[in-house]
Symmetry: C2
Subunit: 305 residues, 2 copies
Amino acid sequence: MTTESTFINILRGFATYPAARGLLDDVAVIDSGDASLIITHDMMAEGVHFRSNANPADVAWKLLASNLSDLAAKGASPVGVLLGFMLGDDAWDRAFADGLEKALSHYNVALLGGDTVTNCGDKRALGLTALGWATCRPVPSRSGAQVGDILYVTGTLGDALAGFELIDAGFDEVGPLADAFNRPVARITDGQALAPLVTAMMDVSDGLLLDAERLATASQLGIEIDLACVPLSPLYVSYRTDSLESRMQASSWGDDYQLLFTAPPHVVLPVPATAIGHVVTGGGLGLKDGTTRVKLPPTLGYQHQ
Amino acid sequence: MTTESTFINILRGFATYPAARGLLDDVAVIDSGDASLIITHDMMAEGVHFRSNANPADVAWKLLASNLSDLAAKGASPVGVLLGFMLGDDAWDRAFADGLEKALSHYNVALLGGDTVTNCGDKRALGLTALGWATCRPVPSRSGAQVGDILYVTGTLGDALAGFELIDAGFDEVGPLADAFNRPVARITDGQALAPLVTAMMDVSDGLLLDAERLATASQLGIEIDLACVPLSPLYVSYRTDSLESRMQASSWGDDYQLLFTAPPHVVLPVPATAIGHVVTGGGLGLKDGTTRVKLPPTLGYQHQ
């Protein structure tokens, strides 16, 4: 099977229009006079992104939030979405639509259109396209980090991992950790506040280490992360302890949808965020735990095979 | 299983933003100052829209052309697309990407971004979002037809049906009828020329009769079609004869991607098109064959179950 990176590399060969940002960002940016439209498309597949027995309303929520999170990381003000939906069981479809309505209402985002297809297979695949207007130009990219910048992340990491484990073990489907997995938050207000100040920004959807490496690659620089600084929630720590291994796992698991960004040291941040590393010359990712150098794990995050 | 119309009716209950056009059109229209962005999302599923042994380059072509056809029906000038792709067999994926590159190049359209997912099922589902700028405002809708307007269609109908039958029978995979099915043409230039003159316009993707009924419903009027006027190609006639039954089948099968539009009788059309009916008071669809009234067939076109 083709890997995601191989396939995207093939596409990159002909995605040469500037708005495509070399397929190195999560969004495309289309300028129109004084405005910039920001557009993203994310899919979720049954058995990969959601379990077959997942609550359809949770699936709808996560499909929306994961797309809006990409807009948030560009400081966008969301406008609307188009849904690509695979029809299936009647009760599931209705529960999904009901959940989507609630999620759209929560974020004050419009359903603009889309398409439905019959499911001829045994698994569902869902797609969503989200559009928003830039609130700040130039629109933050992954590629603007500068040597000496601080690397920050909002919120805490690992809660979605812990939530997934709890759900997978068959209990705590309604607790805050399960919610972190099922009902991630798109940090739209934070993104808008940060956009004018950052040198690069993206969301943490596939794991901190993998996403930080992508930011480093796009910026053609290196990033050093101190795992001792990675923010963990008290709930995460109580469930999974606060060891180096636990910090490493929280940093290499996706679904957190926090904002990861770089800014010069003198910048005063308008929203709470934790400094977890800095931008250096060279390339790739380096890890330490306090003052001790730490080897990179074999897998930095979630990559589609 | 939910039908497409049931599910869309549920969504319509909360798709109240004007840009959504009440989910009665194939596109959303987002105004931005002096410009209007036109956006559409269409999916294709293996076993529904394409056969498992289809040429991946044909699948890529059709996925692009079917989306661009929606833009064409609004007189849009296409800008770019976002691809939702399900990874699978390496050779298939590469052939798809190669075909997509050629199709994008043919239409001078940019690949802007998208997403890939692992295929955990047994069938592929692909999605494409296409964006374009309006070349004419107001942007034609399905809902503007007026009593007394003539109903027109570009090109010929039924060629894709004949092509599908030939392919399904295992031969003529490279003839013009097979091409009509595998490599439909998005009528972008025709759409741009017609947009300032039409009262309503859409593409024929699910069958003339079904799509004409949708146009009538959106316009809250009736449409009368004379099957004797439905344009057939010499190749279609030589393969399937020119009977009333054959005309009915050519009019109730999808994949033609011709433009269907209404215009007042005095309008001189800038592109070739065939007058096939007219807009009347009342609602729904009426059929005749010359001067003889014809009963509607049980199925007007292709509807997802």
